[in-house]
Amino acid sequence: MKITILYGTETGNAEMLAEDIQSELENDHEVDCLNLSDMGAGDFDPSRFYLLVCSTYGDGELPASAQPFAEAVAAEKPDLSAIKFAIFGLGDSEYEETFNFGPKTLAELMQAQGATQIGERIAHDASGPDMAEDLAFPWAEAVISEAAEAMGEDA
């Protein structure tokens, strides 16, 4: 499958995870990895499956590298009805009230333009015991097989 991993980050944790996911998937898929800051609202390609990896900052806001993208999507309102994506969040449960709000905002933004979310939004907790990749690899595998089915491809 053709996959693009898009990451939104501020201190680089999401970038590191995105690269780890890329290495993990590369043997079986054609995988690109891109910072959301380098992604235009009109750059989506329906033949690709999008894996979003995004942290949360401030008081539940998107991280710096995702903000221009979010603003562009909100302003340009691209038609994303042919686009399928899954999303993985990096957050910290110390920020109780706004835990993983960044990815939530991003998913809602994509959905508002008609994109279809595959699977549940999974969250890593920086204050929890798990390594992000231990949650993200099984997540990626699961959403890819679900997406393959939906997109009529071999996983």
């Binding site: 201190t11 680089g12 008081d59 910290d92 920086a126 204050s127």
Partner: protein, 409 residues
């Protein structure tokens, strides 16, 4: 084949992010991170609060810089004592100063030298088991915090916490006992500006609403038309009346320090207010008003002569980044952006000279700790963590050095 040799002085977030960016763009570079401590990561280890382990998780990225990207760690090497700047410049194609700012900016008012006045850096280093820290002082029952930045809030939160609220932190036994037995009855925190312009982040304030043993009063928070300012004021006001225990916490704003009062020890602090003057009695004064250079490196002179300080260029082949360049402002992400920009600049400037010896210039420093040495310290610290703690930091330099040298059995 090496495409150049770069020495980065300071293995804090700035130095590590810089090495990460450099090696990402040019994996063949020889990048050496030199730190005066036997352990890397700077203020991630010794500044970021013990009860903010999530923020410290950024160290996982930094570990990769050594593990996978091939940077070398040269710990326990002090620039200005063990090796000179000139020697480094002679040995490397580029030298970067990422040494941070470790001294507390002094409070510039009469009485600031009285016993009982302590800097936030001094206290946090002692709390977090920094090897060069002194012992934790007695603050008495009514400490007063001067400053309204995130560091001031960190201090307030730790002083206000009950022992069980420190679960999951890496606070050591000495600091834990000190906090548990502090006998603190009231903590006053004062800011020079109105709440609207306070430097702390709103999330830091919201976190205080979780404190389980305090009664919080907020005085004179004021109001603002500006949305961001109003949000900040709202967060502070939301704390007013939070009552979960007997330890009193009072927020005061618009108080400009005039003098520390007392004969042979702090007894109070006098401020200028809108209405005139006011003296708040207290048993100690904790200043959290910023940081400055420690004098080991001629920072002022270097910055004054800088070729392009905005770009981090001090002189040909000599650069600065992070707090050392920008001053004591900005969180970890800002250092990343700074370091990424500087990495591009260095790579553009770099003209490798194969005759430069690089890390051979450090070879005679026998007490150096390498990355493998740090991983032995790290493994020991995590393996010996007591119940309720994620790590048991080694506080003494000699013990760090001993652990670092110990071969794995």
């Amino acid at each position: 084949m090496s495409t150049g040799k770069i020495a980065i002085v300071g293995a804090g977030p700035s130095g590590c992010f810089l090495a990460q960016s450099l090696l990402k763009a040019a994996p063949e570079l020889e990048v050496d991170l030199i730190d005066r401590l036997p352990v890397p990561y700077g203020l991630v280890r010794y500044g970021v609060a013990a009860d903010h382990q999530g923020t410290k998780a950024v160290a996982r990225q930094f570990a990769r810089v050594f593990d996978r990207q091939g940077a070398e760690f040269h710990g326990n090497v002090t620039l200005g004592a063990d090796v000179t700047l000139e020697a480094l410049q002679g040995a490397y194609d580029a030298v970067v100063l990422a040494a941070g700012l470790s001294n507390d900016r002094p409070l510039d008012v009469p009485g600031a030298a009285l016993p009982g006045v302590w800097g936030a850096g001094l206290i946090t280093r002692a709390l977090y088991d920094h090897p060069d820290a002194g012992t934790l002082p007695d603050l008495g029952p009514r400490p007063l915090i001067v400053g309204n930045g995130n560091v001031a809030i960190d201090l307030l939160r730790l002083l206000a916490k009950q022992p069980e609220e420190l679960e999951g932190s890496d606070l050591g036994p000495v600091a834990t006992d000190w906090l548990t037995q502090s006998g603190i009855e009231e903590i006053t925190i004062t800011g020079r500006s109105p709440a609207a312009q306070a430097k702390f982040d709103t999330v830091m304030i919201k976190e205080l609403a979780k404190l389980s043993g305090v009664t919080i009063h907020v005085e004179g928070a004021g109001s603002s038309e500006d949305a961001a300012e109003a949000k900040k004021i709202e967060a502070v006001l939301a704390l007013n009346g939070h009552a979960t225990g007997p330890r009193r916490v009072t927020f005061r704003f618009g108080l400009a320090p005039l003098a520390v009062e007392g004969d042979d020890h702090v007894t109070g602090m006098r401020f200028k207010t809108d209405a005139g003057e006011e003296t708040l009695p207290c048993t100690s004064v904790l200043t959290a008003i910023g940081f400055c250079a420690d004098g080991q490196l001629p920072r002022d002179a270097l910055l004054a002569r800088a070729q392009d300080i905005e770009a981090g260029v001090l002189a040909p082949g000599l650069y600065a980044t992070g707090w050392f360049r920008r001053g004591p402002r900005g969180t970890i992400p800002e250092n990343r952006a700074d370091a990424q920009a500087l990495a591009s600049r260095i790579l553009a400037d770099l003209t490798p000279d194969p005759a430069k010896p690089g890390r051979a210039v450090l070879a005679d420093l026998d007490a150096r700790v390498d990355y493998a040495g740090w991983t032995r310290i790290d493994a020991h610290e995590t393996a010996t963590a007591p119940e309720g703690r994620v790590r048991a930091k080694i506080a003494r330099r000699e013990e760090m050095l001993r652990r670092a040298r110990e071969e794995e059995s």
